[in-house]
């Protein structure tokens, strides 16, 4: 434990330095050295607000789109990008996430509802008056941190904009629209607040304090909305004639919510299956708030009812599927199977019913996964342009920023994605992303140069000696035919997905991203695969140490796999 703590301190210090060097530096260059005028000439432009234009030019000046068309003048100071063979889309929007907002620090003591994961454990709430699991004053905009590695990951994946909010609890905080580039945290904020997300989260049962049940959560939220409007009314009456009147009590939850509602923040209601969706209609009516639903994966059953209620839906792109490593004897019900089968058809159903909807990445690990998931909904009947609209203009409309974002139109913020083909085609590469007029060239993760020699797939036991001492972890690798690797690693630091990796001839490399105290960091495993074992180096931050890997079930399977792959 003690050595663990020491490493954390060391890494935190290293990390700070690391980010100063690596992150601020390029941004400074982007601000100072890079041009502020661009022209992408002769590209296919998909403005979303109108039909695509072939051979068009888009002009960007000082962060804004200042021209779009076939024969428009290119300012002499502009850097010209040859758009031949390229397609220009509006920057994609992840309509509900916490990208850009690292997890809150653990609250130090205090009352219940301190926020973060331990919100219930600090002294249990005895009722609504203790405001359990509520931190509606937390502002996504104020908690932006440039150290969040996902800002870059998401941007490189074509997402220039996110609707981001603090996580955890019943009233976790307020969401803001963020552009994913900037020198200072404030540079990212486009609009705040735009939404008040709700989480129907219980204290986890008996002994955990109020509310311990779903009906307790709902009752609590009812009471909070009533209290909020009461406090506004009471305060107004009191201010008129404070003398000889007992003053209404101040409550931080009420004050924050009242202010956010005054700013027309949308109330985001969780609702994924039909029961929850139908319940959400009633909740939105009862609360008399401008609501939107998030989840929406069983909308294929109730889309017309959602349309009748005129509620927008933010659809979770993490489609339901069988969880890995579940008990094979545990047979899912027919209803569950149907849900897994039909969930990706929900966007098509919403589109058909005329519901305004956007997409959010849910628990997906990478922006590429999000695009793949969106493609699934196209395969399940959604028109490709409707899918694109959900990822751009519709999201902007739902969060009331369509006057500045979401399409390629003169005067809007210059958030663009430049690709070498159709966005939803798997082989398409993102060449360049513009955020607020700043250009970011994208270098796709390294691809294997040579065909893989052998099959590296399977579970590997990795042994190494970190500064903390000897450690072991398990890598569960899956290799495509061309050598591309995916999978997970798990060990005492938790389980992480592999961001990118390959086996080229007998050289392998794969990278995960783990959170070291204070921020995320890439960890790259690279070395040689001899058919039965792995040998190489782990590099993280400024550290590098050797590791070896063997299959837990040793020789036999490796040789069989080897044969099979050839």
């Amino acid at each position: 434990m003690r050595s663990n703590l020491r490493l954390r301190c060391v890494s935190a210090a290293c990390l700070t330095l690391f980010f100063v060097l690596l992150h601020v530096a390029p941004n400074v260059r982007a601000q100072g050295g890079e041009p502020q005028y661009f022209a992408i000439r002769g590209a296919k432009v998909v403005p979303v607000s109108g039909p695509p234009v072939e051979g068009a030019t888009v002009v960007i000046s000082r962060g804004l789109i200042t021209g779009i068309g076939k024969d428009i003048a290119i300012p002499p100071e502009a850097w010209v990008v040859d758009g031949k063979g390229l397609t220009v889309y509006p920057g994609l929007i992840d309509a509900f996430t916490d990208v850009g907002i690292p997890a809150a620090p653990t609250p130090e003591g205090g009352a219940a509802g301190g926020g973060g994961a331990r919100r219930f454990a600090e002294g249990q709430a005895r009722g609504p008056e203790d405001r359990p699991a509520s931190t509606p004053w937390r502002s996504g905009a104020d908690e932006v941190s440039l150290t969040d590695k996902r800002i870059e990951t998401w941007r490189n994946g074509g997402f220039t904009t996110v609707v981001s909010a603090p996580k955890g609890g019943i009233f976790p905080g307020q969401a803001a629209v963020l552009d994913l580039a900037g020198e200072r945290p404030g540079d990212l904020v486009v609009k705040s607040p735009v939404a008040i997300p709700l989480g129907f989260q219980t204290s986890g049962g008996f002994g955990g304090g109020f509310p311990s049940s779903i009906m307790g959560v709902l009752a609590y939220i009812h009471q909070v909305w009533l209290d909020t409007s009461w406090s506004v009314e009471a305060q107004t009456i009191y201010e008129k004639n404070p003398r000889s009147m007992a003053r209404p009590r101040y409550d931080r939850t009420e004050a924050a919510l009242a202010e956010a509602l005054e700013d027309h923040a949308l109330v985001l209601i969780p609702a994924n299956n039909s029961i929850q969706l139908r319940r959400a209609f009633e909740l939105a009516d009862r609360w008399q708030v401008t609501g939107a639903l998030y989840g929406g994966q069983m909308a294929y059953e109730v889309a017309p009812e959602i349309a009748a209620k005129k509620l927008p839906v933010i659809v979770n792109l993490k489609w339901p599927e069988a969880e890995k490593d579940t008990d094979p004897e545990d047979k899912p019900s027919l209803r569950t199977l149907q849900f897994r089968d039909r969930a990706p058809s929900s966007p098509a159903a919403l589109s058909k019913a005329g519901v305004k909807f956007a997409f959010y990445s849910g628990g997906l690990a990478t922006p590429k996964d999000a695009l793949k998931a969106a493609k699934k909904s196209i395969d399940a009947g959604l028109a490709p342009d409707a899918a694109l609209r959900a990822l751009t203009l519709s999201a902007a409309e739902i969060f009331r920023v369509a006057d500045r974002l979401g399409s390629i139109e003169t005067g809007k913020i210059a958030n663009l994605v430049v690709t070498d083909g159709d966005l939803f085609e798997e082989k398409t590469k993102i060449k360049m992303v513009f955020v607020d007029g700043h250009r970011f060239e994208i270098h796709e993760p390294e691809k294997p140069k040579d065909p893989p020699k052998g099959d590296i797939s399977g579970k590997w036991k990795l042994s190494f000696t970190s500064p903390e001492g000897p450690e072991e972890s398990v890598a569960d690798l899956t290799m495509d035919k061309d050598g591309t690797l995916s999978g997970t690693t798990s060990g005492k630091r938790g389980t992480s997905s592999i961001i990118s990796g390959y086996l080229s001839a007998d050289k392998f490399s794969f990278t995960i991203n783990i959170v070291v105290e204070g921020g995320p960091a890439d960890v790259t495993f690279s070395g040689t695969f001899d058919g039965t074992s792995l040998k190489g180096n782990i590099s993280v931050l400024s550290y590098s140490f050797e590791f070896t890997g063997v299959k837990p079930n040793a020789s036999s399977s490796a040789s069989v796999n080897l044969g099979g792959a050839q």
């Binding site: 009722g127 779903i214 009471q223 009461w230 009456i237 139908r278 027919l334 089968d341 798997e426």
Partner: protein, 510 residues
Amino acid sequence: VRTLSKFAARRARALLQNALCALCLTAFAIPLHAAPPDAPSAIVIQNATILTVSHGNIEHGSILIKDGKIAEVGQSVKAPKDAQVIDAAGQFVMPGIIDCHSHIAIEAVNEGSISVSSIVNMEEVLNPEDIDIYRDVAGGVTSANVLHGSANAIGGQTLVIKLRWGQPASKLPFEGALPGIKFALGENPKRSNFSFPGQPRRYPTTRMGVEETIRAAFSEARDYEKAWLDYNKRSAAGEKNLIPPRRDLRLEPLVEVMEGKRYVHAHCYREDEILMLLRVAKEFGFKVRTFQHILEGYKVADELAADGVGASTFSDWWAYKVEAYDAIPYNAAVMTRRGVIVSINSDDAEEATHLNQEAAKTMKYGGMTHDEALKMVTLNPAIQLGIDKRVGTIDVGKDADIVIYNHDPLSAYAVVQKTMIDGRIYFDRQQDIAARPEREKEKKALTDKLKKAGEKKEERKPGEKKPEEKKPEEKKPEEKKPEEKKPEDKPKPPQAIADDAADALPGGAL
């Protein structure tokens, strides 16, 4: 030591159950819901032995159902030509069973964190996809009193539902039935404060404390009511700049109780706590509508009868905890003979599938007549829930909530053939059996398809074009049938473990 370890085991199970419940919320571990069957505008059930419950039995009788209501009952009826005919020769027809104590069709049972949880409302967490709805319909139940658990001296708001399987949650509530609230006396509200390490114990821990908790809550509610009356009076008198009282969702249902707009259903066992609540109710000017479980009701039957309080009890189920030791199977009969309206309830989804047999036991223990026994699960619970104008007997004008059995329902051989609610057939044994292979086929096809898709995903090269995928299949909703229903299964033996677990659940259903 034995007691301790048993207690630990129970607690572990209880925790596990809680965890499982939490899972249910998110994991959609729910079977499919069937599309509600369409009801023909007129149905005739003929050649049946009709057990009207209100006016005797009719041999070879007929019932005409029009637009969901019973239009005619008798030896013969004038049926329109297009009426659907159900020939029930040799079969028995009785009013749909009403379960006066149920915890089906809800996503959670207890808000156990506080001693007064009147702020929560079971209606908000109705789960129309709970398979237990269908199982209970298959056992002849057509209406149920859906109650909050008994973890709290004053529990959550409750409601009466009809078991309209396949309909959305908004269609389940029994229209016009007065809402209720759950109270609980005795061990559950006082022992629900399992002490977890480092956490304070919840008040109360004695029966005295339970009484005080109820009394304190009603005192608050009385003040709250008064604050509003004052405010309304002053504001009607033209006074300006008044700050209205803050609405309190915890106290509002208690005000409704005092105003007679909400029924109190009080979980109890012992005579002393029963008399205690009657005293508290008098003090605050409200009526207890039913005492639930009330295993010692036979000791205070006269007091119950004098106060016009209903009793809803078990047939012969006791000794699962100390306060449930002093019970006798004659309880229902003794209370009935003393003038109490008595019903037999389930408190359990499985028990609810054979309430007819539970009612029959009152004939053996206490000598109830055939009709009196039937009333225990039909008319009497209807009276207790204030829905007897609509259901509970087979009479002209009442809702066509009807069950058809192959034998006398009070026989151990009786199996439900059809269950009808509002004139719609929600369970048909033959159709159910016939539809099973089709459902199995669909399940297998989907399993294979999803498995294949999963494998493809792993095999496919990144650059490779995705193979053509089928368009989402259009499934006719009427083909959907609940997947798990096995009415022909042997009746389960009393579930020692399950019952035990329910009992151990802090403030569990019992």
